[in-house]
Subunit: 250 residues, 2 copies
Amino acid sequence: MRGGEYTRPTAGLAFGYAQANLVILKLELAFDFLLFCQRNAIACPVLEVLEPGCFEAKFLAPGSDIRTDLPRYRVFHQGVLQAEPLSIVDYWQSDFVSFLLGCSFSFEGALLEQGLEVRHISEGRNVPMYVTNVPCRSAGVFSGPLVVSMRPFAARDVAKAVQITGRYKAVHGAPIHIGDPAALGIRDISAPDMGDAVTIRPGELPVFWACGCTPQAVVMQSKPDLVITHAPGHMFVTDLRDRDLEMIGG
Amino acid sequence: MRGGEYTRPTAGLAFGYAQANLVILKLELAFDFLLFCQRNAIACPVLEVLEPGCFEAKFLAPGSDIRTDLPRYRVFHQGVLQAEPLSIVDYWQSDFVSFLLGCSFSFEGALLEQGLEVRHISEGRNVPMYVTNVPCRSAGVFSGPLVVSMRPFAARDVAKAVQITGRYKAVHGAPIHIGDPAALGIRDISAPDMGDAVTIRPGELPVFWACGCTPQAVVMQSKPDLVITHAPGHMFVTDLRDRDLEMIGG
């Protein structure tokens, strides 16, 4: 990724290691955003916050450079997506504060290990994500809707998926909604707002987890001057074992 | 408390309701402090952060006024304790940000319900608290030692106390240390740094929980211009049921 060679989504990559969402913003916005994360901890579980100007994730991946070590980024000016670069070295500013938030890709290894199929991995796609009609709790300048990721499971496997993912609270934990897209304001499950659609077979229910792309929907609504994030599904792969997350999340 | 009539510690008060530590500081310090809490979440579990200038804890106790509704406060100037007023109405500033952090008094009802004795309640004292030699993870201007509270339990009851309190992660959860004060740098268990000493009977072990007075020790070391806290043991009694905390803390 640092060399610009790997530019695809990271689902299914480096099983056993936690992955993270990235949000970078200027120091003057950092308190409001950290408070937003605290108030919406299921969608925005904070794994690490870097010191202002720092671009090494010392806790999650010593020696990393978060300006180059994700496969793809998104640059938002006043809430509008302006670019999707492979590196943000040219965008870096000395007062940038970087937030790394838990990602549900981190529990997919555990789902597979327990014999469950993760559809977007089987189909070689990015996970489907939807902007819901559920408002987040606002904080300072930040307000906007909850984003969810979706994985379909057979009715007999849904409880198992709840129990397995419920152990990983630092990476969104248990689903927030099961089986009724309309109740979340999702009109067409085959047309996700981010990522790719996946097949839902007869007898399967769509299962929804809070998603670390929530800050991106919130940035689009709140329109701060400048925010940089990962591109949806193109995560920061950390050195932390996913089983260590069970402890971080309590 | 609002009328200045109740000025004592709050251990044993309003069983079944969560209690909270208070830290108030100026907006310019708020990001550093919230980050300190995130990095030291066992000692500083955030229950609510009030908007700048706001003194009603809308989530924990609608209708409350955190300037008057605690029995006693502490005012620190550049890390030095200057006053212990019963109200902070005269100290209030429009850019104050108030943090309410979980308090271990919240799980004492559950300990009693399960048949365990809580010594400082039996003896009508404040809980004993100790400044340890364990450094917190620093954040911005804030660095300093971990503070712990101590409750003695018979050897046969220690595991039970761990299991009960482990369910309450939003109010410090399980003990961080059991049975060896010296390993925490505590020289004399009968001389706590805050609160009162309690009797430890033969066959009992001192059991230590991370304590929400940690920010006070950190303020004394970090010496910010102005910080107001609760007086140790003189907590904010909330409207939140302690059993609801089991969910907040995950």
